[in-house]
Symmetry: C2
């Protein structure tokens, strides 16, 4: 059974391809490589022993997207990761985010409709909940005011898919990721930010290894237990596995619910400062950090109720915060060793 993965050269896309292959799926990837390279796909091939075809196509181009679907009429589903995802960049240039994230989604759905693809899984985000007070969030928690254009594109993406699914035969699942972190235990794939990273964990590991001089904690005066933001860090292989389970669920359970939503988090809220401490503990490396001002677009605190994904998808996160940090650190070290050996 063949699956089309968009954004397959990205962080979560690459880990998901590994998990799909481990569960017997064939995979083709579409990735423009505008914000990625094929480096992670090389890692995927080393881990799985399989060659992955990537179409270097910008999904904002309908004609090119159509050609990929035309060549792959036998797919059982699409997992749509491809999107811009940097919160501060989206605040500075909202039109780029609306154009890119919405046009690519609409084009993919047009092709899904034309080629009667039965199953669709969408990368959504806990940022759709906004600054909700109702913690932990369940899937029915009303969506709050999006804190950034990035988050808006995820809210809009969900709405587009819901409206689409209501009148078309495709079954869809929206997966709301909390904070994906860590790397494959092989240290052959992991997060590969182009330029200066924005997400906490690569900033931690890059600070620890000396790539960047110090880490700024954005906001230390929030109403949380230590003043820093609270997040639900979930290991990327756990996130990846949820996609396989979501696809299997769609294939095995054709029902009249055309669009279902699942939270993907551990259920545990961890502060930014606690995450830094967990890293220091497992690595034995002190992280040079300073407390800085709040950052536009950040929500204060969010963590998941993941009961629905456990019950309906049979999914269970396996990896805690310390192993998240351990695999992230191994990946960072492997990146340095690779540079040193070149």
């Amino acid at each position: 059974m063949k699956v089309l993965v968009t954004g397959g050269c990205g962080y979560i896309g690459a880990h998901t391809i590994v998990d799909l292959i481990n569960h017997g799926f064939d995979v083709v990837s579409v990735d423009s490589n505008i914000r990625s390279s094929t480096q992670l796909l090389d890692g995927v091939e080393k881990i799985t022993g399989k060659k992955i075809r990537n179409y270097k196509v910008d999904l904002c181009n309908l004609e090119d997207t159509h050609a990929v679907f035309h060549e792959n009429r036998d797919i059982v589903g699409v997992i749509h990761f491809a999107a811009l995802k940097t919160v501060p960049e989206s605040v500075a240039d909202p039109l780029m985010y609306f154009h890119n994230n919405l046009t690519s989604l609409i084009n993919v759905l047009k092709c899904i409709k034309e080629f009667n693809v039965p199953n669709f899984v969408f990368s959504s985000s806990c940022s759709v909940y906004g600054n909700t007070k109702a913690l932990p969030v369940v899937e029915e928690t009303p969506l709050g005011e999006a804190q950034s254009p990035y988050a808006r594109t995820k809210q809009m993406g969900e709405q587009i898919i819901e409206d689409y699914s209501r009148v078309n035969d495709t079954q869809s699942i929206l997966l709301r990721y909390f904070n994906p972190v860590g790397a494959h235990p092989s240290a052959l794939i992991g997060e590969l930010p182009l330029g200066r990273p924005d997400n906490l964990v690569p900033v931690i590991t890059q600070t620890a290894i000396g790539k960047i001089p110090s880490l700024t904690v954005f906001g230390a005066d929030y109403d949380t237990r230590d003043g820093s933001c609270v997040r639900d860090y979930i290991h990327v292989t756990d996130i990846a596995n949820a996609h396989t389970k979501a696809l299997q669920y769609l294939i095995e359970n054709r029902n009249d619910q055309n669009c279902e939503v699942f939270n993907l988090g551990t259920g545990n809220g961890v502060t930014v400062l606690e995450a830094i401490k967990a890293f220091e503990k497992i690595s034995g490396v002190k992280v040079n950090y300073t407390l800085g001002p709040r950052r536009d677009g950040d929500v204060i605190a969010i963590y998941a109720n993941n009961t629905r994904a456990k019950e309906k998808l049979g999914w269970e996160p396996q990896i805690g915060i310390e192993d998240c940090m351990r695999t992230a650190w191994q990946w960072e070290v492997s990146l340095r060793n690779k540079v040193l050996s070149n």
Copy 2:
């Protein structure tokens, strides 16, 4: 002072061009004529004595849109009407609506940014409020669940403009129309639905004149005073004048509020059955109607609190429901006479 009007060949666009010209503005129009013809512009020219240039350009094409802006660098503002607007069609084909209404808006904003256009007025809709219980609605009323993809595109459009305006110099106004009806008192321009109309008033006048055999009232069992939906019918020349006033307000009041929202309604809720009776009274013609089932995508009852537009824009609706019906009827009769004289 030159204004670019998108969708200038449409119902509200054409009436607005007349009002802009009457207040001393020059106007250029962009309209793809996908859902319109240049017939209303001919009427505008008869009323105003001015020739209006229309660029037949699909705003979903960025290159063509860019060329229009490049040729008209001296505009003081853009009034953006162009959009698909048929609720049932949007339910049946959401992707067409998301693609068309969002891409065109994003392209227009990209050009506004590039050419530093200082002022922007957007056609929004009371449908952004969804099925709210808080009547009359004020601009701060929380937006409810959109009842159709059409309404979603208006909610999303507002959000895109808000996020855009936050980080760019353009000042924007979002005008939330209630139910625009009626026609110019000259009967030279009016609503010109292509194919079978979906809005109540053209259905009433077409039924009265015999173009369509009968009218269906969609839903007679709602919890309203007579069971039919409640709407706030506002005369199209009043709506048109609000655009002129909005533009003048933006030109005269540069402030730090980059995006402001105004309701455009009369403040009076009128049921569908009452609207039919008002028509019968002023026309002396009985309307053949039947009570039918509810229609997907309709909100139950909505009418405006228009205090903000009155206070800040100095706008005041002039025309009541009977004159709405009278001008709509004169327009329908003039369309018949035109056919007969050909």
